[in-house]
Amino acid sequence: MTCPLLEYRRDGGDHSFETARAYCTATETFVEPMRADICNDRYDLHHAEDCEIYESHASEASE
């Protein structure tokens, strides 16, 4: 599983890249490479437990 808020895009905001990169649709920004491992649930990381952005987005959505 990956985070449902993750997309891979080449363009967004002021940025444009040759290769599609991790983009967070909650913050509407490209994601730092280290955080992208959380977004992708790599290793033992999990977006629902390890990403504070997902945590606050999920709690806002449930209010």
Binding site: H15, R21, P33, M34, D37, Y43, E49, C51
Partner: protein
């Protein structure tokens, strides 16, 4: 002690930390990410005065990579382009311990490799644990493969851990440690903490100085004056000055070299760095 090295005019080793694995082109489009970009940046840094290059591998989309294959491609490109001392990172918050050994297994082995000396926090939920077991197994493999450890000392507890490794004869002198200053679980960047840190290092330890973000320049200056060495580059700081992003790693290396020369310390060549570090 260390100020005497300044008075003696000992050469200063400049390490260029080109890319890292935390941020990438989304933070500054000039961060090199592919092996070709990193090799070109390393070549420019060598011309600007760097003698050591600190390397992290990435996937084509900028995300972190730890495999031997990715490091092999990267280190070969940098070796072909420069005569720099090659230092691979073994850092990797959230990555399993077996992957953390992979950067040590290239052919040839790197001249040096980083050794994160204990835990540090990242974001709100992550901790890079760097357990004693992992530090010990990385140090043992480095010794077996003739790789010099660059101890990364993120806070004063990590200096205590360095003293333990020295007492246990795990490392060979001269010991080499990078004193790291910044936010979170790092040593707070103050001149008092800098002085306390250099005085607390084990005997026969050469130190490298690393300030994150806006602390890169002032801590480089302190490192030079107090007989240490310096690490600069876009891994640790994406700005040249307040509000102005750096155009390249070489720009940051050149500024550190100018600073050293202004303060009357010669800048080490790669061969001088090899001699100083006992490689």
């Amino acid at each position: 002690m260390s100020y005497e090295r300044y008075l003696d005019g000992d050469p200063v080793i400049i390490t260029a930390a080109l890319t890292g694995g935390v941020h990438g082109k989304e933070a500054n489009p000039n961060v090199p990410e592919t092996p070709a970009e990193i090799a070109a940046a390393a070549q420019a840094c060598e011309a600007a005065g760097a003698s050591v290059v600190h390397l992290h591998a990435r996937r084509p989309n900028g995300e972190r990579a730890f495999s031997r294959e990715r490091f092999q491609e990267l280190t070969t490109a940098v070796r072909d382009a420069t005569d720099l001392v090659i230092q691979h990172s073994t850092g990797g918050t959230g990555a399993p311990d077996d992957l953390r050994h992979e950067p040590l297994r290239t052919d040839p082995a790197p001249d040096m490799a980083s050794l994160d000396m204990g835990p540090l926090n990242r974001y709100d939920h992550l901790t890079s644990e760097n357990t004693r077991a992992l530090v010990g197994s990385l140090a043992a493999e480095m010794r077996e493969r003739g790789i010099k450890p660059e101890m990364e000392l993120f806070n004063s507890g990590h200096i205590t851990e360095a003293r333990r490794l020295v007492e246990q004869d795990v490392l060979e002198p001269p010991y080499y440690g990078t004193l790291i200053f910044g936010g979170g679980t790092l040593t707070r960047p103050t001149p008092g903490n800098f002085l306390a840190s250099i005085h607390d290092l084990p005997d026969e330890t050469l130190f490298n100085t690393l300030g994150f973000g806006p602390h890169q320049l002032p801590f480089a200056a302190m490192g030079i004056v107090f007989g240490g060495h310096v690490r600069v580059g876009l891994e640790d700081n994406v700005y040249l000055r307040r509000g102005e992003k750096a155009e390249s790693n070489a720009q940051l290396v050149e500024r550190a070299a100018t600073l050293a020369e202004t303060l009357e310390r010669p800048v080490a060549t790669p061969d001088e760095a090899r001699e100083i570090l006992g490689l």
